[in-house]
Symmetry: C2
Subunit: 250 residues, 2 copies
């Protein structure tokens, strides 16, 4: 069944109001009509099945027929701090990272980031990434859309660190030196509901200077297996590993 | 250090001969010369560091200076049987799957595969995919290039099943029904050196008829977490989970 996200204020105890791009999607693309059913999430904790009761060009109304409990969110909140990569790699990271359960994405300008986001284009780019996150969240049956945060400088990233329970830094040199046990050990220290930040460098990796500054603040350096992963693959690896650890191993 | 694969017969006890596209890459792209060092793997079990001793337009010779033991192969052999997906998704699956340690790729024509590979184009497409696998294997420090097998029909796929120790079928309905423990349970039954086949349907998934036929042959149906993954994400999930299980958890 087709899934849509609505704002909290668009969902009452008994009805849902759908506005914006989704109106066109429901009536023109999916060609649905009165009586058809969709699933709506309020992007927080409420997911309902509802039946369309009224369609206009600007608004669709639906009556709630059932409250669902999808439980598709990872039991831990994982934010991916991604050093700005080249080209459209961030699109892939956000689409796949959303499918794999990321809680939020925090792009940051790393020392080796070649791409610079100028102020003008940044808000348009974030909008585009938010749209990718929304579509991936709908497709993968998420209960919430991961947040795409504005691009942070490295010092802004460091200011965010105290709000996390565990901070992991993906470090290629650890993989090369054969360090492999740290990630699994660290995940055993995390309880459901806690917040994990995973910091991943851009192409070329994180610099030694950045590693030094981060480890001084308690960040744990981890290898993600013995192979050298491209920057966009590292986030997918860690999210799948966290899902396996918290959702599949019981 | 730059890495290249050579054929077994191009590596003696003391020297390596490099031919083909890599000659141009070394001399023109990397602008290397006599005395520079590269790493070469024979795509089986031997990886060496060597120093360039002679460069011509068609051939480069190098003296072996050190035998390396990279140990970057997954301890289990994982073959990804991928229902033919749309567009260029197979490119992504093979690039990322190689980084994540896949042993081989077996594309198959599933009931819901929309794409048909005609006989003429198939060999060109496989060649292209082999090139993607080779480049990803070099970049990720693999010791061998994963094999890209020819496109199989569903009945040809079924004939391959007896050669594997564990066969897993990614099934969306399992995820929807909340089945989550099976993959982790099954991985505990596998010993290093054994062969795992992971069967993944195309967009739209595997049909009930296909599931029936496969489970009758001992294939184990598994959910890959509670979220609905796109077809190209499922292979990345299972490879990362297998790496986490066999390489990181100790």
């Amino acid at each position: 069944m087709q899934r849509y996200f609505v704002k909290k204020e668009q969902m009452t105890d008994t009805a849902v109001q759908i506005i914006g791009d989704d109106v066109k999607h429901i009536s023109k693309v999916m060609r649905m009509d009165v009586g058809d059913e969709v699933i709506c999430s309020d992007n927080d904790s409420r997911t309902v099945k509802c039946r369309l009761s009224n369609l206009s060009d600007t608004e669709i109304n639906a009556d709630i027929t059932e409250t669902l409990e999808p439980k598709t969110e990872l039991p831990v909140q994982v934010t991916i701090a991604q050093g700005l990569p080249k080209g459209d790699k961030l699109d892939l990271i956000i689409q796949k990272g959303t499918e794999l359960g990321a809680f939020a994405f925090l792009p940051f300008a790393a020392a080796r980031s070649i791409v610079k986001w100028d102020h003008k284009k940044a808000s348009k780019k974030i909008e585009r990434l938010e749209k990718i996150a929304k579509e991936a969240a709908e497709q993968s049956y998420r209960e919430r859309i991961p947040e795409v945060l504005p691009v942070h400088s490295f010092s802004q990233l460091k200011q965010e660190l105290p709000s996390f329970d565990l901070i992991i830094l993906a470090y290629e040199e650890s993989a090369k030196q054969g360090e492999q046990a740290q990630l699994a050990q660290q995940l055993t220290t995390v309880a459901p509901g806690q917040k994990i930040l995973v910091i991943i460098g851009p192409e070329g990796g994180i610099t030694e200077e950045e590693v030094d500054q981060l480890t001084k603040q308690g960040v744990i350096v981890c290898g993600f297996g013995p192979r050298i992963l491209r920057t966009e693959t590292a986030s997918l690896y860690v999210l799948a590993a966290i899902s396996y650890h918290f959702e599949l191993m019981r």
